[in-house]
Assembly symmetry: C2
Amino acid sequence: MDFIEIAKSAKQASLEIAGAGVEVKNKALEAIAKAFEENKSEIFEANNHDLEQAKILVEEGRLAKSTFNRLKLDENKMRDMIQGVRDIAKLQDPVGKVLLKRELDKDLVLTKVSCPIGVLGIIFEARPDVISQISSLAIKSSNAVILKGGKESINTNKKIMEIMNNALQTVSEFPKNVVQQVFTHDDISQMLKCDEYINLIIPRGGNKLVKYIKENTNIPVLGHASGICHIFTDKSADIDEAIKIIVDAKTQYPSACNAVETLLIHKDFPQKNELLAALQLNEIELVQDPENWDTEYGDKILSIKTVNSLDEAIEHINKYGSGHTDCIITKDAQNAEKFMNNVDSAGVYWNASTRFADGFRYGFGAEVGISTNKTHARGPVGLEGLTIYKYKLIGNGHIVDEYVKGLKQFHHKDI
Amino acid sequence: MDFIEIAKSAKQASLEIAGAGVEVKNKALEAIAKAFEENKSEIFEANNHDLEQAKILVEEGRLAKSTFNRLKLDENKMRDMIQGVRDIAKLQDPVGKVLLKRELDKDLVLTKVSCPIGVLGIIFEARPDVISQISSLAIKSSNAVILKGGKESINTNKKIMEIMNNALQTVSEFPKNVVQQVFTHDDISQMLKCDEYINLIIPRGGNKLVKYIKENTNIPVLGHASGICHIFTDKSADIDEAIKIIVDAKTQYPSACNAVETLLIHKDFPQKNELLAALQLNEIELVQDPENWDTEYGDKILSIKTVNSLDEAIEHINKYGSGHTDCIITKDAQNAEKFMNNVDSAGVYWNASTRFADGFRYGFGAEVGISTNKTHARGPVGLEGLTIYKYKLIGNGHIVDEYVKGLKQFHHKDI
């Protein structure tokens, strides 16, 4: 089937699932979880097939070892994947929430109610568990979804999708074509152009992929290209707190997007040498004044800069940062307040590790991704980020002319 | 100054105004209102200059009479313009609102707080009062703004901008370059490409302009290209209510985007002929089954289609509509509910004129525009649509490693 036909059928599916009740959606999710349990050996088999081919590529130096590791599905990842589907089933329905209810005039009632966005386009790299996670999020938020995965995991992806769609067919009230998959590079090009049917693109993958997508579509994109996170050690910082936070932010999971990349130190911070020595003791490689301030190391490497003032720190972050998550370590509440107000990032932290920037840690119960956008959704995005709203207006033959002529007046009473 | 320099200075201004208090912003707005009052003769003079040139174009048939009328500033429009600025000053500050406050763990508090988007790019056609309105909305929401107006109103635009910026300079705490203007077609091209500094584009003008902008930028665009609104007269509709609502929706202001363009009538509605005759009596021209179902007449002309069922009506609207505002006239609550749930539009109405789709009528106190987007803001957009949020996290040396190792647990308590 060509891409436009798939997109059209997704659009139709999105209109049908928009009205699905939460029981039907949860039934669908449980059917998926159960089907994964019952058919996991088939998934492992498909995954092994992918791994064999990937292994050759790794040996030839054509695939990174880290990609190979992400590609691999083991019993632990499978258990997490299945649990993930069930966790999403347990979350509150994000659709149908009344966000505002207002009587505009007698018998004329406006209701703002959350609803799905429509069709999501997902482009992800070699992590086959993304299919199950994003499909479950889409189902729970009543959106249709078209997924394009990395070619390295194509057998695993196909098998997971087959099992999911077989499971969904057993739920009679569940509409067809809610979850679909495409495979070619040409499909990506078409997806990015398909603003008639696709309402939101979510890329899950590296810097390059996300940047490419953001630059090549006028469909809204939810995500972040890079995570250049900063920690500013103010002159009044507590040295122990600083060491603890910086070590955590850099080493707890160095390849995460919320790991710190640049440490700014106030010139009057008295224990600078002590701090740097402690970081080195924790196996962090320090790069004083690197050529580029926007390198995402993804490793235990940290850029270091001495700044003359809080203002210089803020300016540096707003200039070189990616608007992801930035932290100040200080005992000075006024400085902290100024930092948090003036740093233009999704997360602005005071005396806490940047690694907290995560939907689960924020208590959202699920994470669609982390966004550095300035519209729609910013920071860690939960299910809510897959919804928008519509306005329902219920009248009784009400017309505007009577208000324009002053025969009637709005009273705008929230109810 | 070239566009990139203007955009950079706007970005800087946006960072400075982000922290401005509501008193400063309101003081700035009052200074603008007062300056308009004191200098209105200068504005009228500039406007006369534009009108003289526009008059020649109208006589030569190169400018529509309606554009000429929109261009003209009279005492009434001036009074509305000044009142508009003061009304925005009276609104609640949309910035700094606490949207969520959650204790993730002891002494680790997450706050989601509303904040400005950054830099707005506004492209509008010949309605000089847009400058004052959008600039005031930008100031109140702590955003910087770059405006590009139509060339027909260039003298008026320049004068209004000059008076505004002179007024803003008298408010010492107010940052520079919050409100700027550009003039050439090349500036538009550069604005659409300038995703490094511009965060949101708002086009105010006709179908063609908005469509062009949406297709030529990957910066988020807030607006609507067209307003193909529908009214579906169900078989149980009350004839008097139907006539009243349809006449209002078509004739009260036919060139508005929320005016109705297509009337769908259920085949079993018994008083179809009576209804159509009444519409004609109200000077509405009826077009039975036109070639195109997506014509925005902007005049007292209405497309008519007989449908076999509610489902067919919904399908027609989702296929040909613009997702703006659509209405069902019925006595059947179940049909109304189904219509409102399944029609995928920003406004779904039951027994009320589509003309109610308006920020003031919804009680928002201001209107940025009407959006048919499926992300960020949909329907009539108030000041809230010019904001996003950031997450502030305040800890006490908290690190992620302790949670990953199970030494500490999140308790996620909303406070």
